[in-house]
Symmetry: C2
Subunit: 498 residues, 2 copies
């Protein structure tokens, strides 16, 4: 096939550089705003790219604050009034000049700009996001523009860093990262409200015609990766995934979304729930320790006061000492592991001392209400340390959990102060007959889960795992009160912008 | 709220250890099969957990091969015949004994087992996956059991490692990892066949009633994260995601799935397509270099001959030198960047020398067929080095690409030998008027993409990005010919098991 072509031709073709593009001066080697701000020495030739946060014009000189999302603090640029004339809030710009010690008190250095170039259109006047306080509710209608608000860039960086920490932790701990399917046949919990997936190949059929399914049978968006992870755990032992999950619930709370990320892990060869709790503890230890020692920590603890989102109503309003306590709690070890029955007794004792403590009296069969979980987390977790509540009554939990007694299952919920439930896990029923029995009792047996029963028929092994609400974790770490504000494009009942 | 509770009570509750679980001897501290195999020194007290690959019984002694997915090679265990009697292929076991230098030729050490415990049920006889050659087509009907085949555990580990390499590369390069939405309003390409998402809250309405949508308007499964990534790139500059994407195409090929992972990245402040190509090149450099220096490399190059999947028809049959060439090519630099027009001329010259070379004659307007791409990759990419074809005719490409001339766009496809297209990217049209014009020309303007036009109205910036088929990359790196065999739970037209 290649015989006829001469070596010179090939060489000429290979070297044909990509000539249609020119590199303008504005695109010279450059660093981020964060790296420039970290630079203590003066420099003569500095290029910075970013978006204008503010312009202040005086007669002989102008000032502009430039951010690029890498830092809450902007670079302060000193400009010629003529150069500043073309600038407006929000415009993308390229600045070239000298990095000089500043005479102002606010920053140690400033960029004395010799060249200023506006890189694209910017209709500052009609921009729906204005440099002033705007309510979180309003901003949620504009998820394509909202990320540009400095605190939102911080939340994007936080997510990225926590993903990196998580990846690194599991890698060290010998867990294999897996991609579990989004389109599935089954509803893991046997109770969740699911989204249905269909192809629009087939226009609505006449009433009498059976629907032709793209995948032969009806399919849904996954509500949990757990069952599939269990199958993979029986191949490589320890597995994890960070995957989108879905609930078609009509809930309208600061804690629930229709589409959210779940961090789930399974491990084989364990018949001890403590092993699973220890994995959760070690994971959160690693995440919070990494965060605490990162640049993000400082930014989260001292949000910059000099931008629109510094309004007290802004999501990032959790006091710094509360945040520090949370991180320290997550970084601590030996979190209390308290059986459900003990927790109920504790609540009942508290209620007997103070009858108005709870709106709903705590009883064993009715389960823990949010107010009870809050109280448990507040009184049993020292200094915002998390607590595990274990061994819940079987009737409150899904079919796949392994029993720990006649009426309880080897399960845990991880409770943290303020937020309450952050994660939940269990040993899984690994005995075929007992699993079928539990499925029948919960009414979820059937062809769709035949494959899941197979896992108990062939090479079954005692195992356990957990799921952790990743977006909730980001709320907890950042102090953002509403999960809709830590997700870039949140989806909930009635709302899915963009 | 906490006043009434005495310190002793709290202390007692906190220390209430989790007593319902006992740790049996079989669950002592242990290492993986891979870590045990790496152990050159003898040891008296070794525990290993895994699944039985084979048992061989002799009169006075028995042998078992034990794997746990951490290694293609199993641990060889020497057992008392009585202990071996209870073992069957596939059973989960715990072995305890001594790690001793082996007299056999096959392995340097063996486990002389003193205690053997079977951990769960195993109906070896009826297991649909038997220890013999079974066709890939058959195995795809059993995705919940298939991962246990040793080569499939290798593919699970490969995916995990490539994700880790990718995460680490982008982290170093200052890219922020984002979670883009799965449920979206728009169809990025303006042409893809999409899956529709609906909630089953609402049973089929009578014909005359309008459907009540869960999200008010119809929603689809995303076909690409690109448009959303562009919005985030305008906040933090460089962004990336590894996210599930969906196509409701009725294709039945070894290259297409209905659900697949796309690795996508966008970067702002560039008007040079070379910047984007360089990012792709650096990323693949990093991935292949990491792979080449890892334990996986050896396992992929010398697949263990001693297990069922060693059959020549098994997916992992690409010769070792081909794989090495691929990795070396991906790790090389300065990949040829050849304009589309030059590529067509090259093909036409080749066809004029050998009229039977192509089934379809290469012409400028009709575009590159698979056979043309294969020829370009084979002749222009030295030793399986990848090549970029750039500046495609605008009419062949989607609306969002930036022009590079009257008729061409600043785009590229990355071609690799054997597999052909692995990635594609472009500069994005960042001018509002020109974008609208292109949308109108392609017939995709409308309310659903109003938000995307906003990105050009407010703080617009020259930018570009790319998308890379992650599952295809894994095929290319591992030599697996069919994408259905590198995805744990593959979905395609008519098929979505489990």
């Amino acid at each position: 096939m290649t015989e006829w072509i001469c070596a010179r031709c090939i060489s000429r073709l290979r070297s044909s550089a990509h000539r249609t593009f020119s590199t303008s001066r504005a695109y010279r080697e450059r660093g981020s705003v964060a790296s420039l701000l970290a630079r203590n020495a003066e420099a003569d030739h500095v290029t910075v790219h970013g978006w204008v946060r503010r312009v202040r014009r005086q007669k002989k000189v102008a000032f502009a604050a430039i951010g690029d999302g890498s830092s809450l603090l902007p670079v302060q640029a000193v400009l010629k009034p003529d150069d500043a004339a073309q600038l407006s809030t929000g415009a993308a710009v390229s600045l070239f000049g000298s990095w000089r010690a500043s005479h102002g008190a606010k920053q140690s250095h400033e960029l004395q700009a010799r060249e200023v170039q506006v890189l694209g259109d910017n209709d500052a006047e009609h921009n729906p996001i204005q440099p002033k306080y705007q309510t979180p509710e309003y901003l949620r209608t504009l998820p394509h523009l909202r990320p540009r608000i400095p605190t939102n860039t911080l939340l994007l960086r936080l997510r990225s860093q926590v993903i990196a920490s998580t990846t690194s932790f599991f890698n060290r701990a010998g867990f294999i990262q897996c991609h579990t399917p989004i389109i599935t046949s089954s509803d893991c919990e046997g109770a969740g409200e699911v989204f249905t997936v269909s192809s629009n190949h087939h226009p609505k059929p006449p009433t009498e015609t059976p629907i032709e399914h793209f995948f032969r049978t009806p399919k849904y968006l996954t509500v949990s990766a757990q069952l599939h992870l269990e199958a993979l755990s029986q191949a490589v032992d320890k597995v994890w995934t960070l995957s989108p999950t879905f609930r078609a619930e009509k809930s309208d709370t600061p804690r629930h979304l229709s589409e959210f990320y779940m961090l789930e892990a399974e491990q084989s060869f364990t018949q001890n729930l403590s092993d699973v709790m220890t994995t959760v503890e070690n994971l959160l230890n690693a995440i919070s320790t990494d965060l605490h020692s990162s640049k993000l920590a400082e930014e989260l603890l001292k949000p910059h006061q000099d931008h629109p989102s510094s309004n007290p109503d802004h999501p990032l309003t959790t006091p710094a000492d509360t945040l520090t306590d949370r991180w320290t709690g997550l970084a601590s070890s030996n979190w209390p592991r308290i059986p459900y029955t003990t927790a109920i007794t504790h609540l009942q004792t508290a209620a007997s001392h103070n009858p108005s403590l709870f709106a709903t009296p705590p009883t064993h069969p009715t389960g823990l209400q949010a107010e009870h979980e809050r109280y448990l987390a507040a009184t049993l977790g020292r200094n915002r340390h998390p607590i595990f509540i274990t061994d819940y009554p079987a009737h409150q939990k899904p079919f796949y959990m392994s029993p720990s007694s006649q009426d309880t299952v080897s399960s845990f919920d991880l409770l943290v102060p303020d937020l309450c439930e952050l994660a939940g896990g269990s040993l899984r029923e690994h005995r075929a007959a007992e699993l079928l029995q539990a499925m029948q009792a919960k009414g979820v047996e059937g062809k769709d889960l035949e494959w899941y029963q197979d896992l108990r028929r062939y090479g079954s092994v005692p195992h356990g795992g957990f799921g952790l609400g990743f977006d909730r974790l980001l709320c907890y770490l950042s102090g953002v009160g509403n999960v809709r504000d830590v997700v870039a494009f949140p989806r909930w009942y009635g709302r899915a912008e963009c």
